[in-house]
Symmetry: C2
Subunit: 210 residues, 2 copies
């Protein structure tokens, strides 16, 4: 059983991405060297260039990959909601549960996003910012579909989405920081649950300005 050329290339490309993700759990892209990655993969430094132009280029690929998995999660959240119309608070509990599970399963992806969102090279930062803004938009249209949002201006829906996304980003960060401390983990989840409920109580009592 021999390996086709493209297969082999894709395999080392994956190895590079995985090696980078592993190294980036404890440091940042701006401090990551091409040679560290090569060594971890088991190839010679120059081999790196066959797959990426630079560390920043690698970072852009990781942004794509990370948000691909994040979008898969968001599909899960929506899917868990369709069929039947559970109460607001059930939506909160389910969504946070799913997010929590995904953060654990894709730990390195979320850790990457959390770090490079503020510390990465400018292009990477901008790409992450853009992706998060897309998430906000999608959440806004989702919220618009729910009953009880009649009195909301589209502008206020966007602002509310921003608030929720901000809280969820913070929740993901806190979850990452709490892994391995089981007590702290439960606390972080409960914290996020209550916060989202508070926001929702605010939302349900909100009336957009004329």
């Amino acid at each position: 059983m021999t390996e086709t050329r493209g297969e082999r290339k894709e395999r080392t490309r994956r190895a590079i991405l995985d090696a980078a993700l592993a190294l980036l759990e404890e440091s940042s892209l701006v401090a990551l060297s091409l040679r560290q990655v090569s060594k971890q993969v088991g190839i010679v430094p120059t081999g790196f260039y066959r797959h990426f132009d630079s560390i920043e280029d690698l970072g852009m690929a990781l942004v794509d990959e990370s948000f691909e998995s994040l979008r898969a999660m968001l599909r899960d959240v929506r899917q868990g909601r369709e069929g039947g119309a559970p109460g607001w608070m059930d939506i909160v509990d389910d969504s946070i549960g799913i997010l929590d599970e995904h953060v654990h399963r894709q730990r390195s992806h979320f850790a990457f996003i959390a770090r490079e969102r503020t510390a990465g090279p400018p292009l990477v930062r901008e790409a992450i910012r853009h992706e998060i803004e897309l998430c906000e938009r999608e959440l806004a249209t989702d919220l618009a579909r729910l009953p009880g949002t009649d009195r909301w201006s589209t502008e206020d829906l966007r602002v509310l989405s921003g608030l929720i996304v901000t809280a969820m980003v913070a929740f993901a960060e806190n979850t990452l920081h709490a892994v391995g401390r089981p007590g702290a983990e439960k606390l972080v989840v409960e914290n996020a649950r209550t916060q989202l409920r508070m926001v929702l109580v605010g939302a349900l009592n909100w009336t957009s300005r004329p």
Copy 2:
């Protein structure tokens, strides 16, 4: 007019801190080299060790300094509130205005915190996390002093404070990202204002679980 020994030392120490803050506006501590800082200050690399043990040590000093200025700001926020009892929404407007002004005046400090909070060396990250947690506690006791928080458990007050602080951190980050784009700046402020109002509407309609 000669300079006393301690004065001279303090002057170069400040120069190092300032040089680091300037360099850290576009990069991160983990990518900052001792030699860059020395060159920017105008001293030889070894001179650095007369003031700090390492870059991480410098980072800890910057954490102290940054949160000292942040605490000064929080005093302003409280002071602007005492005397007279303006409405909730006035408190929101005033607080955000003050925060906005301070982010501009201490841009490099806030940029430092925003970056190293997630990307800095472990000790620096932990120090920043601790300081922010202190801010949450202080906000919680402040909120407890306000009228209308009778039906709130102290636990829920803490959770609410966490939500507000999270939103304010995000606001500061957005403000930093918007500097130089006057339109965007006004939008960011208006965004934060509305979000805080939403949270407050939620808070005013909240009843802690029995």
